[in-house]
């Protein structure tokens, strides 16, 4: 199976929704992002793979302005992340401006962080009602549709602690989708799950991809990257060492390190 639409095989034809340009970031002397440049096109499933500690998650968090970076620039649509144009200068964001930006980017992270004091339904309507100002009735209707889409139609009134890890992660996806984001970021969304629960979450992500959602997916699931991903970037030590279509990266890797990495991970879920 392959959900990639053909135009991404010729990626440069579609203008980039997100442009990452020469982004670098250090924690002390540790350079976690080293001159990273990347394009993410509308409707594309952009997978980022690589060893632990290679900077994948940090890059993803930069896209959501959860982490700032030292140099370079990231542009989403017409927004320069971190700055607002005033007159002819770019002024750093206020807290509210950063918050307003994050409405447009959905994040699903490794550790499921559903609000533990709210039911599944309340979790999903929290963003629309509290952040977007949607009326509760409208938000509940939209949330019901989303929960049905992720297979949780019967779990509206459950608390997160009453759900399995896979159900929690699917609810977290519904919560992010409720904000109607331009792009969805997945930060190792299945890494903390029991093996038998991984498939149900990947299934929801796959359905989302085939609906045309722009997705940036940091993952260790090589099969997902190969089959659902349109383009795959391989990171190592803060750098992108390889970037191309999924089929190119997996079947004709150019970089020896990519070959080694893929070999190390080939043991995983070769069903």
């Amino acid at each position: 199976m392959n959900f990639a639409t053909p135009e991404f095989r010729n990626a440069s034809a579609v203008p980039a929704l997100i442009r990452v340009r020469n982004v670098s970031k250090s924690f002390g002397t540790n350079r976690v992002l080293d001159d990273v440049s990347l394009d993410i096109r509308k409707g594309e499933v952009r997978c980022i793979i690589g060893p632990s500690g290679s900077g994948k998650s940090t890059l993803l968090r930069c896209l959501n302005a959860l982490t700032d970076f030292d140099s370079g620039a990231i542009v989403l649509d017409d927004t320069r992340i971190g700055y607002t144009e005033r007159g002819s200068v770019l002024k750093p964001w206020t807290g509210r401006e950063a918050a307003n930006f994050r409405r447009r980017v959905g994040l699903v992270s490794q550790h499921v962080n559903l609000f533990s004091h709210r039911t599944v339904l309340e979790n999903v309507i929290e963003g629309p009602v509290q952040v977007l100002g949607t009326s509760r009735a409208v938000a509940v209707r939209a949330a019901s549709d989303l929960l049905a889409r992720v297979g949780l139609a019967d779990k509206h009134d459950s608390y997160p602690s009453q759900l399995s890890g896979g159900q929690q992660q699917r609810a977290a996806i519904a919560r992010a989708l409720a904000m109607d984001p331009k792009v969805m970021l997945f930060d190792e969304a299945t890494s903390a799950l029991d093996p038998e629960l991984v498939a149900e979450v990947l299934g929801v992500m796959q359905a989302l991809a085939s609906d045309g959602m722009t997705m940036v997916v940091v993952t260790h699931e090589m099969r997902f990257a190969e089959e659902v991903g349109d383009t795959v970037a391989v990171m190592e030590a803060g750098r992108i060492i390889e970037d191309g279509t999924a089929s190119d990266v997996f079947s004709r890797p150019r970089h020896q390190r990519t070959v080694d990495f893929l070999k190390d991970h080939s043991g995983f879920r070769t069903a």
């Binding site: 959860l66 992270s109 962080n113 609000f115 004091h117 709210r118 039911t119 977007l132 997160p160 992010a176």
Partner: protein, 295 residues
């Protein structure tokens, strides 16, 4: 079990998984065993109650009479007002102290640490006496521009009446303890919950209101109940400066009629009733904030 005790050798010969096990006592055996404990406890309690009830020094008639005497009820009202005001101010102050203590600004953090150190170190009784006697040290109090003498000033003894002095002492002390209780609650909220709220597009203030505060409340409420009960009882210390609280009134009465124990029991009954009210309120709040706790 009978066959096991009858033949030790057979028991030893059995594989471990086939050996009989001792079960908890059931039926009549259990009723007798637990019943005897209850019976003994009941006898002891009855003996204690009998001893107190028949003690001629108890003066039950006095206790009944003073329990609802207007002067005692006046004192009770004063106690409630002082405790409630100190609780409210202490809660608000405690929140400020907790946030200051968790600030990323080292100056603000140090101020909070200094406050906590000072107000938790000096005994409350000493603090009450200091505020009460402040006039002997600072005859004038007020606000104004430093070194200019411009501003509003007043006589310390007028501003800090005994009542206000006690209120200030209890509230400032309360703020220090509440500050640490609130900080503990805030620290108990997982970082991921805050990040999820931020990622959803909430401002820090909104994330605090919608996610952090309700989750922190869950772990703040039990120690808060403890602290409010302590505060209620600590109001009895204000009797040293004669503010007219429940304890002051009780002391005033037994100073003239010498019925010390009966009046201390009158005070105790009221403190007990108020404590029950706080405990019930704590239970209600705990249920209110229990949503989502793994059951």
């Amino acid at each position: 079990m009978a066959e096991a005790s009858s033949n030790i050798v057979d028991f030893q010969a059995l594989p471990l998984e086939d050996r009989p096990v001792e079960r908890p006592a059931a039926g009549l055996q259990r009723v007798l065993r637990e019943g005897s404990v209850w019976l003994l406890a009941g006898l002891l309690a009855a003996y204690a109650v009998w001893g107190i009830a028949t003690n001629s020094a108890m003066r039950w008639d006095s206790i009944a009479r003073f329990l609802t005497a207007p002067i005692i009820l006046q004192g009770l009202l004063t106690t409630i007002v002082i405790a409630a005001a100190a609780a409210v101010v202490g809660l608000a102050g405690g929140l400020v102290i907790a946030l200051m203590r968790m600030s990323s600004n080292p100056l603000i953090r140090t101020l909070a640490i200094g406050y906590l150190g000072l107000f938790r170190a000096v005994p409350l009784l000493v603090q009450i006496l200091i505020w009460y006697n402040l006039g002997t040290f600072l005859p004038q109090l007020g606000i104004g521009i430093p070194f200019t003498g411009i501003g509003l000033y007043g006589d310390t003894n007028v501003i800090l009446s005994p009542f206000v002095a006690c209120l200030v002492a209890l509230a400032l002390n309360q703020a220090a303890y509440m500050g640490e209780i609130i900080r503990g609650g805030l620290l108990s909220v997982q970082q991921g919950q805050i990040e999820a709220a931020i990622a959803l597009g909430m401002t820090r203030a909104k994330a605090f209101r919608r996610v952090v505060a309700p989750q922190a409340a869950k772990s703040i409420i039990p120690p808060l109940g403890n602290d409010l009960i302590n505060l209620l009882k600590a109001t009895s210390l204000v009797s040293v400066v004669g503010v007219g609280d429940l304890m002051t009134r009780a002391q005033g009465i037994y100073a003239s009629n010498y019925q010390v124990i009966p009046l201390l029991i009158v005070a105790s009954i009221w403190y007990l009733l108020l404590t029950i009210v706080i405990t019930l309120a704590q239970g209600l709040l705990e249920r209110r904030f229990a949503a989502g706790v793994a059951r």
